[in-house]
Amino acid sequence: MKPIIVDQVEELLNNFKDKPIYLHLETTNGAYAAHRNEGMMTVSAFIRNGKIQFSHGKITGSHPYRVGLKLEDGWVYAQGLTDWEVTSDGQILLAGHDSEGRIAISLQLSEKPFN
């Protein structure tokens, strides 16, 4: 993955608009968060291959970035995104890595289900 380039990401996001697409959205502070630091709560959530359709998508902020996708009846939102990649299948993969290279958030869109 490479550091996010805003214009390119936004253009690609909008290639997905107005059609049914598969979403992977994930956020985590690691399964051992509370084990290592008792003041912390272990939290994580992920949805894989959730099916959505959005009317427009935007990327804002300046490293890390935020992405919002406007759905007919709601929103998809992700904060803390730093890196991106487009796969040979045209999937867009966005992720937020901390200073030690650990993934903390990921937002991915695909026309076909993720494996």
């Binding site: 985590t28 399964a31 994580s44 030690e100 290279g101 650990r102 993934i103 990921s106 991915q108």
Partner: protein, 216 residues
């Protein structure tokens, strides 16, 4: 007791190396076959490197290769990948998970099983895997049950379970254990970039392997 076949059951590639890596190497180096049932491919692992060398979609393939490399180093020549998904083991149909482990037990008839102590794994996948393994053994006739050695990593483990009854100094196989840990490059590279002081602590921590024999 000299084991005839050891079965190791863990959910994530690298659990086998960080946990009982030295013990596994001791068994394989003395000619005792070790089978590893690894439930997931660690699809949700967090370490992606700086700069990132993997993404969410490529990580499982990478970790599959690393798992094979680590098993080769530890001398495990029977690796079973059970095909569950990282972070979801506890939500699977429990009976099916138990049955999939029981099938392997019935096939290879291990004299010893190594897994996580249910309720003392910290990671929900660890607890679900330990629970399913213990339940699979419980379903066997008493006379046919292998010994089960559990790893416990919660902070309250000794308060709840007492002292571990099996404590091994694995200095003899430490180099193999560290090589196996390093084979899980994507997840462990950062650990070995620590200061030499931290490395001494790491080595000391890795030298002692503790197990609690499960009492049915």
């Amino acid at each position: 007791m000299k084991e005839n076949h050891v079965l190791v059951v863990f959910p994530h590639p690298d659990d086998e190396s960080f946990g009982p890596g030295g013990t596994i190497a001791e068994y394989t180096q003395s000619g005792i076959p070790v089978t590893y049932a690894c439930l997931t491919l660690g699809e949700m692992g967090r370490n992606m490197g700086t700069p990132p060398f993997a993404n969410r979609e490529t990580l499982p393939l990478l970790r599959k290769e690393e798992l094979a490399d680590a098993c080769a180093i530890l001398g495990i020549n029977d690796l079973r990948m059970l095909g569950y998904r990282d972070k979801t083991v506890e939500f699977e149909d429990e009976d099916k998970v138990i049955a999939s482990i029981k099938e392997i037990i019935n096939e290879i008839k291990p004299s010893l099983i190594i897994t996580h102590y249910p309720g003392h794994g910290v990671h929900p996948d660890h607890d679900a895997t330990g629970h399913a393994t213990v339940e699979a053994v419980r379903q066997l006739p008493v006379a046919e049950r292998p010994t089960v050695h559990c790893m416990a990593i919660t902070k309250e483990r000794e308060r709840v379970l007492g002292k571990p009854d099996v404590v091994k100094d694995v200095s003899e196989t430490m180099d193999t254990k560290i090589a196996a840990i390093k084979a899980h490059r994507s997840q462990t590279e950062a650990i070995f970039k620590q200061s030499s002081n931290q490395k001494v602590n790491l080595r000391n921590w890795l030298t002692e392997e503790q197990f609690w024999t499960y009492r049915f």
